[in-house]
Symmetry: C2
Subunit: 334 residues, 2 copies
DNA sequence: TCATTATACGTAAACGTTTACGTAAAGGTT
DNA sequence: AACCTTTACGTAAACGTTTACGTATAATGA
């Protein structure tokens, strides 16, 4: 691989001069500039970002650690993030944790070693202690959609409790009182917060909580399907179901239809996230919309600002607004 | 940030010794090992991958350049790729080109500068010349789903012509003869190859080609919708539609339904890719299944092997098998 | 004409690792 | 006792940049 030294030699100048035309960091005569450009061309030269990174302590690289890029929510989020950091010339490492603690920690260490300039993390299992080592190392971190609402970290999130509340209230407004809940694992995900909102809505409306109306499972299509089948196997059926994520809601939809029930005729269904797919199903699913792409953008903006100002001490907390989107899958109780 | 020097100093040894315990590359007495481990612990030390990369000329990093991570096909592919390189300790940079030439080239240069160990690329606009510079720089490249079937590059792909042929033949077998085509831009995508398959099937079955039965557009939901509306605005309607990608097929589905026609009653519809969503729609869409995840794995395997053996000279070409999946959206012509 | 200042570029150290060599001390061999 | 091996670690160069200084030449002013 050809280096700056080769270029300097061929152009008959010092490597300093080459470096300076490379970065436009001091005046170089047109003549010499041309010689250098030509040399770079004929030698097929590309500067080494790793050598540069060693010297400048900037890698122009970000990392994003999410459960699964295959989940449309995180794909959208990631895209939003990338689109804005890309404009500033950053590349991004994406890591799939599958919500497994050892993986989260392993990736955290690997990207630390990579000396990335910033990290966005959707923390599932990882605890604050594991993260504080990172910020001590002066790496900027922003947490997303997190239940770790800690003032020591930048956070971009929505009000998940309010979101769960709104979804439930929407069903209640339609007359439902027997409302099933299909939920991600309570302790690890934002599902737990949405569950709190669910409880709050029930309470405020004087509806007693029924344990057998809730089911907990992995946040996947399959998970949603299994949880819903479980709900529907009880002797007392819900008239509406709130799934705390759209991928689970899609599973719920199939489960409901598989047992021969109609949506929304027999059972209303509302999800969470507003991934593209749920607006294309028949019936189209009601849901709580999160500004996925926008949240990615916000995370990027926070990191870029911290990096440019080298201020790793201040903390930002942006909570974005969700929206209940009533489509065809929720209807008034007959 | 603490360095190997700090650790060496605190442990009262040379940096060489620290390096050796770090990498397990020569014997160090238990006693000294312990001192060093403790020092690393108390100093919160993590080795710098960038310094290491400069010295060893290996970054333990791969890059993948795809049109859009938001497209489920590429998300799945990426996941397959990441899952296998992850086992070997590689991180991966993902870049969204949006099939824009300048972006493809820009990313190619950026990752080159990053000295990634390997690249997988879904080339949309980029030409062979742009790539040969990369391989000259001894970076391993594998192309995926490419119409650049060039012996100078590693390729993992399916037989897109055959795929297009099979999809069309499936419709013909059902009695259709007026078959519409909804296609990505012909010159830039694998859609072009599938289009060839379409033509071949028509020809072999003695069906004349009709120009006004084909429409070309961006490979998105919207693109599929617009193309299909265009087809349906002609005075002679097709009895079946082949969309060369599932995301376009989803748009086609909505378009057909929007003009009040039934699938498959009035029009049969078949897509390409078998993304998860099309098996959940009503009716479920017929499609040509690609082993997305598996293709990602294959790409990774090729790169890893080339990297381990430092042989950037040999080329591999693996063509994976597709499968026609007949679901509810295709039916016999009445 | 000589000192001063501008102009345009060069020298060399530093960034944090790895690794080819080198070496001091201890143990073995004759 | 002298020499050779082995053991366990240290020295220093190199990787490819950036950047604080240094410097030769030309231009300017008196």
């Amino acid at each position: 691989m050809t280096t700056i030294k080769d270029v300097a030699q061929l152009a008959n100048v010092s490597i300093a001069t080459v470096s300076h035309v490379l970065n436009g960091t001091r005046f170089v005569s047109k003549e010499v500039q041309l010689r250098i450009m030509n040399a770079m061309e004929t030698l097929n030269y590309q500067p080494s970002a790793v050598a540069r990174g060693l010297r400048t302590k900037k890698t122009n690289t970000m990392a994003i650690i999410i459960p699964d890029i295959t989940n449309p929510f995180f794909a959208d989020f990631t895209r939003g993030f990338q689109d804005v950091v890309d404009q500033k010339g950053f590349l991004v490492l994406v890591c799939n944790s599958d919500r497994i603690l050892t993986r989260e920690i392993r990736f955290l260490e690997m990207i630390w070693q990579q000396r990335v300039d910033g990290v966005v993390l959707n923390p599932a299992m990882v605890k604050v202690e594991d993260l504080s080592r990172l910020v001590k190392a002066r790496i900027s971190v922003v947490l997303i959609g997190s239940q770790i609402d800690n003032p020591d970290f930048n956070v971009v999130m929505i009000d998940n409790v309010k979101g769960g509340f709104d979804a439930t209230q929407h069903l209640i407004d339609l007359g439902h009182r027997k409302i099933g809940l299909v939920c991600g694992l309570l302790n690890t995900t934002s599902g737990g917060l949405r569950y709190q909102g669910y409880l709050k809505a029930l309470e405020e409306n004087g509806i007693p909580f029924q344990d057998d109306l809730t089911a907990e499972g992995p946040i996947t299509y399959e998970g949603g399907y299994q949880c819903t089948r479980q709900l529907l196997s009880k002797n007392e059926l819900p008239t509406a179901v709130f799934a705390t994520s759209d991928v689970m809601a899609l599973g719920a939809k199939t489960a409901i239809e598989d047992v021969g029930l109609q949506i929304p005729g027999d059972i209303s269904l509302i999800g969470f996230d507003d991934i593209p797919e749920v607006s294309r199903t028949r019936p189209r699913l009601s849901t709580i919309a999160q500004p996925k792409y926008g949240m990615g953008q916000e995370a990027a903006i926070i990191l870029l600002e911290q990096i440019e100002n080298k201020q790793t001490n201040t903390r930002k907390r942006v909570v974005m607004t969700h929206k209940v989107i009533a489509r065809e899958s929720t209807a008034a109780l007959k």
